[in-house]
Amino acid sequence: MQVDDALLTKLEKLSFLHVSDDKREEIVSQLSEIVSFVDNLSELDTKGVDDTFAMSDRATPLREDIPSSNPSISEEILKHAPNSADNFFIVPKIIE
């Protein structure tokens, strides 16, 4: 399958990424090459094969529900965040 500029624009939106004009052509051709390669999976007969995969067949393990908290972790994260005050992260204006 070929990736085109319109699809790249859609993927940029989904990815919160901007691909600069000078790199668009190269990225479109690289993505096309990769997607065309992985199209080989259509050659495999997977009829009746489970469509979800988990590393372990065991159920998710359970543990005792004992509350625990390490406030120093959130303090450290806030201290090193790009912008924070009064135990909050500060972001640019959301409502215009």
């Binding site: 992985v38 999976l41 590393m55 390490n70 959301i94």
Partner: protein
């Protein structure tokens, strides 16, 4: 360089003196660029740590610009386990950005050289850890392996690298790339050291819900004299370079003369492994890397509103390969393509896992190449698709969650190391280490 086993018997005073000398040696070998920087925690045996494993109060950046300014607020479980066993995190090692690469060229900190020949790549993504051990600048190191990122650089640098069964080692505190594939593992000078370090970092952990909750150890039962059944794959290696084929023949001869039984097996065309891997890994990476938005940690590039801040931060913070994989991951997960790509890849994983299970009905271990050639020169894998193809022999092990160990078998005519891997059943690390120990003795690579 002293081995991990030897270092564990040194006194605190001896270790402190050793670490001072090691720090000087690392500074004298700056051009190798194996280490990003060198800090020390505690007075134990120094272990080099890949830049995606949390060490409290260290800058831990997954080799990325987007995490500049981030300081780890806690220790990964493996770091807690190192510390309680008398080991010290000592220096963080270079890596491909977010572990996405096979050469360590995509790091924000520049490329790392291969310690055997500076014109060649050290492999990746744990290239810094492999180069540090290979150059005699680390006793041992931790790496992470999502599609071969421990085993391949180990093979390129002539050291031992081991990927545990999925779930054996806690992923708590490992910067996530592809959560169903990632495992932390040891990178060492020899097989016995790998077993020692594996025993230290493995085991149950309630902080990782995918942990296997198993605490059995391999070192007390290490036995190189066990006679095993080992599968070889003559057709599977047909496209590998002559160096790899020569090493393969040498390893088979060594295993036979050690009394193991060699059984020929076949595996399906590995091109399907590559497809299943790059679909699964990029899909998971897209999700995991969504957290890097410039709000909570790392580097923010302000925009005129929140959305533009996200886009500016991510567009300037991520390198080309990471962007490519995020875009690809969003493609395979997006509506209209999800069934044909992501779901198909999950079905393919079942086929790959069952194929291995069938082979393991008849054998204890599989002998496989690690990479299709020795370490390439810088720039040779500049085309992304070509780089993905070079992962052909390592990724199915991650897709099936198996344990595998890469060890050096010989040097080619240019003196470059050739490594091969043994692969075992899930949770059968004991047989993996026993067989690897036997192969190591048989091939007598003996550089250390």
């Amino acid at each position: 360089m002293i081995t991990l086993k030897e270092a564990l018997s040194l006194s605190k005073e001896e270790l402190n003196k050793f670490k001072k000398e090691l720090q000087t040696k690392i500074e004298e070998n700056k051009s190798l660029n194996a280490y990003i920087d060198v800090m020390n925690v505690g007075d134990g045996v120094p272990i080099a740590i890949k830049d995606n494993i949390q060490v409290k109060d260290w800058s831990v950046t997954s080799g990325s610009k987007i995490l500049q300014g981030y300081i780890a607020p806690y220790n990964a479980t493996v770091i807690e386990k190192l510390k309680s066993s008398g080991l010290s995190p000592f220096g963080r090692t270079n890596m491909d950005e977010f572990a996405m690469g096979s050469t360590t060229e995509s790091s924000y900190y520049g490329k790392t050289q291969n310690p055997v020949n500076a014109e060649h790549v050290p492999g990746g993504s744990s290239g810094g850890s492999a180069a540090a051990v290979g150059a005699g600048l680390a006793i041992a190191a931790l790496g992470s392996d999502t599609g071969g990122s421990i085993r391949q650089p180990a093979a390129y640098c002539g050291i031992v690298g081991m990927k545990p069964t999925y779930g054996r080692v806690s992923r708590y505190g490992l910067g996530a790339y592809a959560s169903s594939l990632d495992q932390i593992g040891p990178m060492t000078q020899n097989v016995e050291d790998a077993a020692i370090l594996y025993d230290i970092i493995s085991g149950s952990d309630t902080k990782d819900s995918t942990n296997a909750m198993m605490d059995d150890k391999v070192v007390p039962n290490l036995n190189a004299t066990r006679k095993l059944k080992i599968a070889v794959l003559p057709k599977y290696i047909e496209n590998a370079s002559q160096d790899i084929k020569d090493a393969y023949a040498k390893a088979i001869e060594a295993l036979e003369s050690a009394g193991h039984t060699i059984i020929e097996k076949e595996m399906m065309d590995a091109k399907y492994d590559i497809s299943a891997y790059y679909i699964t890994a990029t899909a998971e990476a897209t999700t995991n890397l969504a957290r890097y938005d410039g709000i909570r940690y790392g580097n923010r590039v302000d925009g005129k509103n929140l959305e533009e801040t996200y886009i500016n931060t991510r567009s300037e913070g991520f390198g080309d390969e990471v962007k490519r994989r995020i875009l690809l991951g969003n493609f395979v997960l997006s509506s209209g393509y999800y069934e044909a790509y992501y779901v198909k890849a999950q079905k393919t994983r079942h086929i790959i896992k069952e194929e291995y299970a069938k082979i393991f009905n008849d054998v204890d271990l599989i002998l496989s190449p690690v990479a299709p050639s020795v370490a390439p020169k810088f720039g040779e894998l500049a085309n992304p698709m070509q780089m993905y193809l070079s992962d052909i022999y390592t990724i199915s092990v991650n897709l099936a969650g198996l344990p595998a160990l890469s060890l050096p078998v010989m040097k080619n005519k240019d003196g470059l190391p050739v490594g091969l891997q043994l692969i075992a059943k899930p949770y059968d690390e004991q047989t993996l280490f026993d067989g690897s120990l036997s192969l190591e003795k048989g091939v007598n690579y003996g550089v250390f």
